[in-house]
Amino acid sequence: MTTTSATARRTALYERHVELGARMVEFAGWEMPVQYSGILAEHQAVRSAAGLFDLGHMGEVEFDGPDAEAFLQWTTTNDVSLLQPGQAQYSLLPNETGGVVDDIIVYRKTGDAKAYFVVVNASNRERDVAWWQELRSRRGDLDVTVTDVSDRTGMIAIQGPNAELISVKVTDAELPAIEYFTWTSATVAGVEAMIARTGYTGEDGFEFYSSYDDIAAIWDALLVAGSDDGLVPVGLGARDTLRLEARMPLYGQELGDDISPYEAGLGWAVKLDAKEFVGREPMAATKASKPKRRTVGFTTIERSGAPRTHCKVFAGDAEIGEVTSGAFSPTLQKNIGLALIQREYAGVGKPLHVEIRGKRVSAEQAKTPFYKREQ
């Protein structure tokens, strides 16, 4: 069954998902697979073997020109000047009021030019590009081009302990030499691609970028290459439980226009002292005055359904915040969640109550990430 509207966009792999028996849902205006065999089985496959993800809905934006570095320094929170050719960096696109328009990954292109390839969330693509264009128009002094290349770019990911041994079968690239948060260009399954050691699951793995038309060749080759090593296609359902166990933020839940990076636990991606950037002053003010809220992890300690986004959180009778993400953790076999709460109540081991379907359920703040792979 599909629950999508007629206007939803399809990725280059849509027909393959249907043939694989995926259940398709609408997500951020795209018709995407939420599951194939089942969310639990797909989640376990990524933790124990490998999973293949269609990320064709994600947005990609290129920054070129002599002042590309200066422009990204001014419009992102992390320090772009630290990037060597072929390196990548998690960063934030700030607004002017101390919040966040999107969380992004900035890849510095190879070669001598300081040019960049930036991956953004599907749900934010249009407004990110509009914001960057607006900011560019304010800086006539900077010579930079901002190009939305999403429509001509394909993206997939392979994640899990077997990701590398499967991927080496489809490329001549020296994969073991690709360190975490670096990338290389290579021929993969006969087509030109970018291979990055990045991901959103807490496992080792790679993200592949190619032209829109070529991405299916890489997808097909990986599925065949991984058939003896437990590789299965994985939908958005397991992608969400995997990233939550690894405590990776999801824009719109842990991050938003009115949530400071310091409240979201992402202050490490904000380099206040390295440079001037849009929204720096309000972010600095939040940091200096100590953020009023903090994002904490918790597990429920009495039997209940799973906590869900927007469930209210209490300490005693006082309402102190709400759940940003929650789920039954397939790895831990218990309910886990993240909540944005008043800072004075935060602390590992401290009790909370979470209102789940009208009932206040006992919970305890927990260390995050909930899951960390063995190195």
Binding site: V34, I39, T241, S304, G305, A306, A327, F328, P330, R357
Partner: protein
Amino acid sequence: MTAPENRKYTKTHEWVLVDGTTAVLGITDVAQNELGDITYLELPEAGESVTSGEPFGVVESVKAASDVYSPIDGEVIERNDEAVDAPELINQSPYEKAWLVKVKLNDPSQVDALLSSSDYDTFAAEQMG
């Protein structure tokens, strides 16, 4: 899977198996398939009453929580604790091992208004498209 012929069905995807003045309630194969992997089940205890058209339990999958509606009025005489402890039984055996509650019926004629197995199969096929 077609719905077993020996029971009655609802448009909210529950089944009822009647034996004299008692009934066993559960959710259909279509419902469990639509929900996906079930991770949590909440059911009333013996002695609690159920009301036609009202929720009596919660079935929760990784994706979402759904109410389970009673198609009849009555009093719970037994609940399936095995299914509460291992909710994945609902995915594996929705019509047999994962029955939910046994109910003493207030009015056995209430069941007559429910769907037959063939009517339910037709309804579910149309709804799932």
